[in-house]
Subunit: 251 residues, 2 copies
DNA sequence: TAGTTTATTTAGGTATACCGAAATTCTAAA
DNA sequence: TTTAGAATTTCGGTATACCTAAATAAACTA
């Protein structure tokens, strides 16, 4: 796949098209793309035609837009750039998480491949960013850890936190405060009645914090990679009584 | 001085205008500007009009171009960006000197002020880049070390190397090999006959290397900040006899 | 299924930053 | 001081990536 000379607009378009399908399957439509890019629908129609001319997308008029292998490859390289930059800014330049996005957005179009690889080396070639989003390697390969959103897991599952949505900064602070970080082990105890949230057992390297109640918004922000099923099934106690939190396997 | 929203083209234009007068006084002309930017003369005419509209330059038709205080301020901020970026790429990301220029050229337009200040902090707020070119501070102030090019100094002057031109990469390697770096102390012994170069006494932290002969190209690539006049005058020995190199003051 | 609403594309137009060619102004030599 | 040549500007034109408004296609709905 020869790297086409791509304008920074092309890069933004394929990146947004890719991002839409990263965590679900429905392909993106023209108007959603326009909204996400902050441009008019007509601009998207025109640009999608150009992207198609360059072989970056498949598109029939009035239909959703799909990336071609070439477009996917470009998108993955942009995702790699973005997430490595974010990781670098946080780890090496002391950025806070809410400061990195816009900066990375600019830089991802400006830095050379050489810069990206130096940065990756300095960081020890990480395969995920500080919130667990996967960083594709230079060939576009993603180290996928099969995982599920906490709200999709049944009681009894034991998992390691593999991704934390960075959507809500306040929630991010809450997780940190509760000792919930990447690779923290959780036991899914059960869902609270009336959609009030989830109850989980929690164990970190430093302490065995016992049961923890997470609101619905918090539960949909955490992804767990399965560590195994807990054998002795855990009884849900929605009334708030004391819960046995079984000892979980170490990492 | 309110920071105007400036396009990356404006930034390039003022940077080149400034660079032309950094080490001499003659103002830049339209065609020289065009050559340095790699654009047509007609493009310069048009852009200079726009720069004038923005209050960045003074210009009468058919005359050379001068920066206004506002233009100077923008130019200095671009120089700061460029030199901090080059320093950072070399010191923190293991770039070689010939790799940094193009990368910095791109990045200087893309990074935020915040990024620049984080970088500066990480580097310990340097006032010069690895070759001694001054890095303006965030207010545009330059820490000027009064210095002269080696070929402009008379025998007897003792100076610290304060700048090494990065024009010729080969020469750069030669200097390194000879132990000539920033802050190396030199005694100007004298000019060789027939413009064949200069002879200098040299002393580094590690060794007292004695007399050294530099070609004319090497001599115009080194700037010296005066450390003082050597009292006992040094006799020039163009025939190649042994030379007394007096002990020089420490840093 | 006809009609309305929504989604998408087309058509015409803007700003930026470039170009080559032609016209203008300056400079310097005869 | 006139004029050839060089430097500079003006003029018309290009590509990119936007825009609004109008036209068209698709999707509902009654």
């Amino acid at each position: 796949m020869k790297p086409t000379a791509t304008s920074s607009s092309f890069e933004d378009y394929v990146k947004v098209i890719y991002a839409y399908t990263e965590w679900q399957d429905k392909p993106i439509t023209s108007s959603v793309l326009a909204t996400r890019l902050g441009v008019a629908n007509s601009s998207v129609s025109e640009m999608v035609r150009k992207l198609k001319d360059q072989g970056l997308v498949d598109h029939q008029p009035y239909s959703p837009i799909h990336l071609t292998p070439k477009g996917l490859s470009l998108a993955l390289s942009m995702v790699r750039r973005h997430r490595l930059l974010e990781t670098y800014l946080v780890n090496e330049l002391g950025y806070t998480w809410d400061e990195v996005h816009d900066e990375a957005e600019q830089l991802e179009h400006a830095v050379s491949d050489h810069f990206i690889e130096r940065m990756s080396a300095k960081l020890g070639h990480p395969f995920r960013d500080p919130h667990g989003d996967p960083i594709p390697d230079a060939q576009g390969q993603i180290a996928m850890v099969p995982s599920h959103r906490l709200d999709e897991l049944d009681p009894g599952h034991v998992g390691r936190i593999s991704r934390i949505s960075d959507h809500d900064p306040e929630l991010l602070r809450y997780f940190e405060q509760q000792g919930l970080g990447l690779d923290t082990e959780l036991l899914v105890v059960g869902q609270l009645p009336f959609g009030a949230g989830w109850q989980v057992g929690l164990r970190t390297a430093t302490h065995d914090a016992g049961p923890l109640t997470l609101g619905p918004d918090a539960a949909v922000s955490l992804w767990l990679a399965s560590v195994g099923q807990h054998a002795g099934c855990c009884v849900q106690e929605p009334t708030g009584g004391t819960l046995m939190v079984p000892h979980m396997s170490g990492l």
